[in-house]
């Protein structure tokens, strides 16, 4: 094995270690986040069988405002990434394109659940969504905002882990047709694929202790602000 081979092997093993370390810390942020979500009044209603149509409509209204901003901060983040990290920039841009119409699905679900289009389109952001969105755009405007990978971990986790769970509970409880639950039930499929993609993104910016720490910090901030957003949804 040549000297070059050795250093390549060492580099890739250091990268693997850094990626699994970051993932472990992110998984811990996630479980804390999930426990906090369970304790919010809206999710308590859902899990305790007290969830009403008005709760679901409110939920959709409030999600829409945040989902609409999701691809926008991702685009902003992509535009803040320098030319040394074009691969990551491409990935973020692709993500933004994939998701930038998702809020339309929420609007359709809302109408299928008996609401009017103008009501969901004209609703204001709640203060949790305000804080979440404002913070995201600020972070995305920094040079090389790699910490936002932590934000993506939380937001994607909501899609792949919580959305279906909530969708099933709401569907069972409310007895509305399935087409009122498209966003929650069918939006976050293909877990394993997402996870692999996320690991690849981490490998583009790690190992780097400061970046790793920022990723975990951003995940924590987003988790807290997201909980605040859910707390603010009251029927």
């Amino acid at each position: 094995m040549s000297v070059v081979d050795v250093s390549v092997a060492e580099l890739s093993s250091a990268r693997d270690l850094a990626v699994s370390d970051a993932l472990r810390k992110l998984a811990l942020v996630w479980t804390d986040f999930e426990a906090r979500l369970e304790a919010t009044p809206l999710i308590r209603k859902l899990t305790r069988g007290r969830f009403e149509l008005a709760d679901y409509q409110n939920f959709l209204i409030n999600l829409r405002q945040q989902v609409k901003d999701g691809s926008l901060w991702m685009s902003r983040a992509a535009s803040s990434i320098d030319e040394q990290h074009l691969e990551l920039r491409s990935t973020l841009m692709k993500h933004a394109v994939t998701e930038h119409r998702d809020f339309r699905m929420l609007e359709a679900d809302y109408v299928a659940a008996g609401g009017t289009l103008s009501a969901i389109q004209n609703a204001k952001k709640n203060i949790g969504s305000e804080a979440l969105s404002g913070w995201m755009f600020n972070e995305a405007s920094q040079r090389n905002p790699f910490g936002l990978l932590g934000a993506m971990f939380i937001i994607e986790g909501l899609g792949s882990i919580k959305a279906q769970e909530w969708g099933k509970l709401a569907h069972d409880r409310l007895g509305l047709p399935k087409d009122a639950f498209n966003f929650l039930l069918y939006h976050g499929e293909n877990d394993a694929e997402h996870m692999r993609e996320f690991e690849e993104m981490l490998a583009l910016v790690l190992p780097d202790e400061q970046v790793a720490e920022r990723i975990v910090t951003c995940a924590k901030v987003v988790a807290r602000l997201y909980v605040m957003q859910i707390e603010e949804i009251a029927a």
């Binding site: 472990r24 998984a27 811990l28 996630w30 479980t31 426990a35 369970e38 882990i161 509970l169 996870m195």
Partner: protein, 390 residues
């Protein structure tokens, strides 16, 4: 019995013997309902699904096929203690403390430990009686360990016993709200009937290692409850819709009304279980992250849960975070002894030690998750060689 010295140094505690009592012959999957009965006279449609999920092939019941009890929880627990004392080369007269664990004892009052001491007979004992679900086993082990380590006792026994099958007989479900319009038992109630079974497992704890053979040194025991964040997930005492409101507990409604509204049977919320599995994994990952558990330094894993019940997403997370303990290090008796609730971990430990597979210096990690209200416990053990005569 000696009193602890204020300046005493903590001693090590060693598991010097173990014993198991499994009632009757192993019962195969196709005979389960011959013992626990058929609700409304009909075979369960949920049973086969439950068995595919939990992977259990045989289990033991302390009932005759007619549903008559052959034992009590206390008598099975006492037999396991006697077996463990015999394995340790000791007798009832050496015992100073008894710590017991169960999900549901034979009586409502007093505690299970009193019933087991009654069965064992003999001289006065210090008792500790723990009631929860699976993790009650580790509460009992921790209490006994603390007593031995602080020098309050030289010899303690820990026993966990379960007699779940009696609660699964049709009388607990028929004429209750747990049956749907067609007379079928709800999934929340029926699933557990094909998951839990009977038996007891016991350990003997001493302040000195054995001279004649290997024994297990207790490195540490950690128990974490997340009940502050989660509603009950496996419970008896309230119907599902009311389970988070303790003012609606069965004891307030009275026995007849509670039976009718399905509050007496053991129930499980499967949607919440998925969330709680992730919460358990979170506690485990925290221990890996802080260095309390180093996966590469674990030689044997006794996980009171079947590997096949863990969804692929969980295995993926464990692997991608370098927290997975490879499956060849897992040891279980679950497929053959069934899930015996609190007793399972001691039954598995007994089988692992007696298999002769564990060498001195190897470390055993026991993980006991309890879905009751989101709890999980861990024990780290080290196999030590027999102490030399000096």
């Amino acid at each position: 019995m000696q009193h602890a010295n204020r300046d005493a140094v903590l001693r090590d505690a060693y598991i010097t013997g173990s014993g198991v009592f499994l009632p009757g012959d192993p019962v195969a999957n196709d005979r389960i309902e011959d013992f626990i009965g058929r609700v409304g006279g009909r075979a369960s449609s949920i049973g086969p699904r439950a068995l595919r999920w939990n992977g259990i092939r045989t289990r033991h019941y302390a009932l005759t096929p007619q549903g008559e009890p052959l034992h009590s929880n206390a008598s099975m627990s006492a037999k396991a203690v006697q077996a463990a004392l015999a394995d340790a080369g000791l007798g009832r007269e050496n015992l100073q403390m008894l710590a017991t664990a169960t999900t549901q004892g034979d009586y409502l009052v007093p505690g299970h430990a009193s019933a087991v001491h009654g069965e064992l007979g003999g001289a006065p004992l210090e008792l500790a009686s723990f009631q929860s679900v699976c993790a009650s086993s580790l509460m009992a082990l921790k209490a006994a360990t603390a007593s031995v380590r602080t020098g309050e006792h030289e010899c303690a026994a820990i026993v966990a016993g379960e007699f779940s099958s009696r609660w699964f007989r049709p009388g607990f479900y028929e004429n209750t709200a747990l049956l749907d319009g067609k007379g079928r038992l709800t999934m929340e109630a029926d699933f557990l009937r094909f998951t839990l079974s009977d038996g007891a497992g016991a350990l003997v704890l001493e302040d000195k290692p054995r001279r004649d053979r290997t024994c297990l040194r207790i490195e540490w025991i950690d128990l974490t409850s997340l009940a502050g964040s989660y509603d009950p997930c496996m419970w008896a005492g309230a119907p599902q819709a009311l389970r988070a409101d303790m003012m609606q507990a069965w004891s307030h409604a009275g026995p007849k009304a509670s039976h009718a509204n399905g509050a007496i049977a053991l129930l499980q919320d499967f949607a919440l279980l998925k969330v709680i599995i992730r919460a358990w994994i979170g506690v485990y990952l925290q221990k890996v992250d802080s260095g309390r558990i180093v996966p590469e330094q674990v030689d044997w894993l006794l996980f009171h849960y079947s590997a096949r019940s863990l969804r692929q997403e969980i295995v993926d997370i464990l692997q991608s975070t370098r927290a997975m303990i490879p499956e060849e290090k897992w040891f279980t008796t679950l497929p053959d002894t069934g899930n015996i609730g609190a007793a399972s971990i001691f039954v598995m430990l007994d089988a692992l030690v007696k298999s002769g597979k564990v060498n001195p210096g190897e470390r055993i990690l026991c993980v006991v998750p309890e879905s009751g209200r989101a709890m999980v416990g861990f024990v780290m053990l080290e196999m030590v060689a027999g102490a030399s005569f000096t």
